[in-house]
């Protein structure tokens, strides 16, 4: 239905453009120079007058209709069902949706619920017909009004350009709205989480087992939310990744910038970039099925027990993923060091490597630090590699051969699968998400700041 409406709207907008243009020619008696604007602007004026109100109407209707229908259907249920507590009511609503969409509801639903489900389905169908009618009516009203306003002295161009200006502004505001959306959604859920779990227990607790007891006597169901082991695990894996990525990435960047010839650069750089283009799920598969067993078997050979979900495997593969990130950022930074510094060092008789170590690297250090910070932020936020290759159990350990878990792994395990939206378990994921967002944001801001400050120095 939505698709039909959108296609109809596109058609109407096109008709509107054509109508406006031809109307403009009629109004000016086929002498376009007497018009204030070019005829196409009159067409665009009508098209905008059709499209914008209709799209707004469409979006509002899509958002509001389900809520109204739900209220009506709930109001039609017998009083004893309406009086049920909220969570039971939620289950019944679920049944109603299932019946409405023709799925199998819970075993043996209440006849009143079945009736309500059918009512819901029919109301939704009626609603979507009404919506089609309303959207097209709004579009047609826009068409008629806009067409009637076309006159030789009407300033179509000014109106159209001002409208487009506003549209462009709205488009660029989406970035701000996304950030606000992220912050609000994370903060609201986190506040609700801290209503159930004390703030200090979350930040400084050393016990993490997010199962909530279904029964009082259930084993291992303490429901502890101390996130220290998770933060420690994240840092451990990030540290391992950096141990791989920073030396390799930095040396690769130095070689590319200072030693490599043009032809070597031309093929080696894109090949390194391929590493950045491989989807993370592929790295995850590689870590879980190739690298982790390799480390485990290697450990067995020399008599060390290495867990098959060791932090080492996940960290090393994550490091490989981040190499091109470090190398291309450092490459830019090294290339930004002015040639005069190099020439000065060579003139004093320094070899190339001495120049790099004693002149270029100190000069490029802020930029390299910025690159490493950005790489750390990427490693902390990386999800699929750790979900597939790191463990689930929250061990508080610094031993890279054991299994640890990370913030992103916990977010995924807490939120994938069946979930009720109010439990501390689900809300904990949002609290972890907020921590992740804040930490990566701080790292990015610092890194961008460092890099920018450094650039200004030489520009």
């Amino acid at each position: 239905m939505s698709l039909i409406i959108i296609l109809a709207l596109v058609g109407l907008v096109m008709v509107g453009y054509w109508t406006g243009r031809s109307r403009a020619y009629v109004v000016c008696g086929n002498q376009p120079h007497t018009l204030h604007s070019l005829p196409s602007y009159y067409g665009a004026f009508v098209a905008l007058a059709i499209g914008i109100p209709a799209l707004v109407m469409f979006a509002l209707w899509l958002i509001i209709q389900p809520q109204i229908v739900e209220a009506v259907v709930l109001g039609g249920l017998p009083q004893e069902i309406q009086d049920l507590p909220d969570d039971r009511l939620g289950l019944i609503l679920n049944d109603i949706y299932n019946i409405a969409s023709g799925n199998i509801a819970s075993i043996d639903p209440d006849p009143a619920v079945v009736v309500a489900g059918e009512r819901y389905a029919s109301l939704m169908t009626t609603g979507s017909y009404l919506m089609t009618a309303a959207v097209i009516a709004v579009a047609l009203i826009g068409l008629v009004i806009a067409r009637s306003r076309i006159a030789t002295d009407m300033r179509a161009r000014n109106t159209v350009e001002r409208t487009i200006d506003v549209l462009l502004l709205i488009a660029s505001m989406i970035a701000i709205m996304t950030t606000i959306g992220i912050v609000l959604s994370l903060i609201f859920e986190t506040i609700r989480f801290f209503g159930k779990v004390p703030f200090f227990e979350f930040l400084f607790g050393t016990e993490w087992s997010p199962q909530i007891a279904l029964r009082a006597d259930q084993a291992g169901s303490s429901g502890a939310f101390g996130a220290i082991p998770i933060f420690a695990g994240t840092m451990l894996i990030t540290f391992i990744a950096m141990c791989v990525a920073v030396p390799i990435g930095l040396f690769a960047a130095i070689y590319m910038a200072e030693y490599a010839g043009k032809r070597f650069r031309a093929w080696a750089k894109p090949v390194l970039e391929i590493l950045a283009g491989i989807p993370t799920v592929v790295y995850g598969f590689f870590a879980a099925l190739t690298v982790a067993p390799f480390f485990r078997d290697g450990g067995d050979l020399i008599g060390i027990a290495i867990s098959s979900e060791s932090a080492l495997a996940a960290g090393v593969v994550m490091g490989i993923m981040i190499i091109p990130f470090v190398s291309s950022l450092s490459d830019d930074v090294i290339n930004a060091v002015p040639q005069s510094l190099r020439d000065g060092a060579y003139a004093l008789g320094a070899t190339r490597s001495e120049t790099v170590r004693q002149v270029i690297l100190p000069a490029a250090l802020p930029g390299v630090v910025g690159a490493v910070l950005l790489a750390i932020s990427r490693a902390i936020g990386e999800t699929m590699i750790v979900v597939m290759a790191a463990g689930l159990a929250a061990n508080l350990t610094a031993n890279p051969l054991e299994a640890v878990t990370t913030v992103t792994v916990q977010i995924v395990t807490l939120l994938v699968g069946d979930q009720e939206f109010d439990s501390a378990k689900t809300l904990a994921a949002f609290a972890l998400g907020l921590v992740l967002f804040v930490v990566t944001l701080c790292l990015n801001i610092i890194a961008l700041h460092v890099v920018r400050k450094y650039r200004e120095q030489y520009d």
């Binding site: 200006d165 992220i182 994370l186 283009g277 989807p279 590689f286 994938v416």
Partner: protein
């Protein structure tokens, strides 16, 4: 450096000794060579890791493109299929195809008597075999009453065995294919009735619990639907935002705020966008779970910064003289942009968009948050149908216990990488073809 601390006389002595100086130069050149070698080594290590990664995936996955089939001599007795000779497809469809198929297999091995052995024997062919036999008969109704030889798939274990991934010399308890299964298989193989054919199922069907029935088509279609939504949302919005920021935005705090925001969003972990989608799109607006439309919206928000940044770079590359010429001829600013600057910047914008789409195609984590991880057999046919995407399918298969799913996961990865390579090649070609230096 250390020279500074040595007494003057001694320093003078060292300078006058050319043999020591030569040694120092050798040392310095040695350090130079080592340093250079470290650089080469680093690049070599990175490339070697890429090679190992690709090799391990190809070597694990190439075997998924073939599937072992076995030829069954199926006795299609009229009494069992269509006793009243109606010729009605509905009647034929409802015959007991399981029994017919299994009887024909049992007829091959008359000495199989015991229940457990029979079960083992039946376990050698795919659970889909009766359906394959049924479809054969539906296509060839004349075959009823005769004995037809029909190729059916073997089960995933036998398939793995035939591809040589199960060592027949292992202890019987250590391998999934037992001794008598190997004997039966060898008998059939000896009669030339085992054949490895191209695995079309991998490309023509959706997910399945049985490895030999599982394919990537459902995930590919899901990815396509999701990417369409992403493209439709992020391309116009991204281009509009870039045009605003580059051409129209006044220098004020709002503009600064927008720019800072875009730069930061580009570095926000993708999983946070998934949390946003879950909290806002699913729980607040009540959009359906697992639907490509929601996935597309989340990915659009995620790729938006990439597209905006690339588009701004493309707009910046258009020289100001073009704008000035247009303005000088009396065009409005909007006309100058839409008629002159945008067409010139379009190749760069498209390149950025394709790269953004490639990123979106490979993205998994945010889609896990909005429920696109469900086990979905049907191929999605609309934007609100439950669907999964190719990377999530890889994630799901990587978790599956059967050995046969390992090779299918690798094959799915190859399919995904092929798509990514094509998209990136397109971007490179576009850039090469339309690159203009002013």
């Amino acid at each position: 450096m250390t020279d500074m601390t040595t007494p003057k006389a001694e320093r003078a002595a060292t300078i006058r000794r050319p043999d020591l100086s030569a040694a120092r130069i050798n040392r310095r050149y040695g350090a130079e060579k080592r340093f250079r070698a470290y650089g080469l080594l680093a690049i070599g290590a990175a490339i070697a890791m890429l090679a190992i990664l690709l090799f391990s995936i190809v070597s694990k996955g190439y075997s998924a493109f073939v599937q072992t089939y076995v030829q069954l001599e199926v006795t299609l007795t009229e009494a069992e299929i269509d006793p009243d000779r109606t010729g009605d497809p509905e009647v034929i469809r409802n015959a007991n195809w399981r029994k017919i198929t299994f009887e024909s297999l049992r007829a091959e091995f008359p000495d199989v008597k015991s229940r457990s052995e029979t079960r083992q024997l039946f376990g050698m062919i795919s659970g889909n075999a009766p359906i394959a036999v049924r479809d054969y008969v539906l296509d060839n109704p004349d075959a009823i009453g005769t004995t037809a030889s029909i190729w059916v798939k073997v089960s995933d274990d036998i398939d793995t065995f035939n591809k040589g991934f199960i060592d027949r010399n292992l202890e019987e308890d250590d391998r999934r294919v037992k001794d008598n299964e190997i004997v039966w298989f060898d008998t059939l193989d000896g009669q030339g009735r085992v054949e490895a054919k191209f695995n079309t199922t991998l490309f023509t069907s959706g997910d399945s619990r049985e490895p030999e029935q599982a394919g990537v088509l459902g995930a590919v279609v899901g990815s396509l639907l999701t990417l369409i939504i992403t493209l439709v949302l992020s391309f116009p919005i991204g281009v509009m935002a870039a045009v605003y920021l580059e051409e129209f935005a006044p220098k004020n705090r709002l503009t600064d705020l927008i720019e800072v925001n875009i730069n930061n969003l580009a570095a926000v972990p993708s999983i946070v966008f998934g949390l946003l989608g879950l909290a806002v799109f699913l729980n607040f607006f009540g959009l359906p779970r697992s639907a490509p439309v929601v996935g597309g919206m989340v990915l659009a928000l995620m790729t938006l910064p990439t597209i905006i940044i690339a588009s701004r770079a493309a707009l910046k590359a258009v020289p100001p003289s073009i704008r000035e010429a247009a303005l000088g001829l009396g065009a409005s600013r909007l006309q100058a942009v839409t008629h002159h600057v945008l067409p010139l910047a379009m190749p760069g914008m498209l390149t950025g968009t394709i790269i953004g789409m490639a990123q979106a195609l490979g993205e998994t984590a945010p889609l896990l948050m909005i429920g696109m991880v469900a086990f979905i057999v049907d191929i999605p046919s609309g934007f609100t149908d439950p669907a999964t995407v190719l990377p999530v399918q890889i994630f799901l298969w990587a978790d599956a216990p059967q050995r046969a799913f390992v090779e299918r996961t690798s094959a799915a990865i190859m399919v995904l990488l092929t798509f990514l390579v094509c998209m990136n090649l397109l971007a490179v070609l576009l850039r090469k073809r339309f690159e203009r230096r002013w």
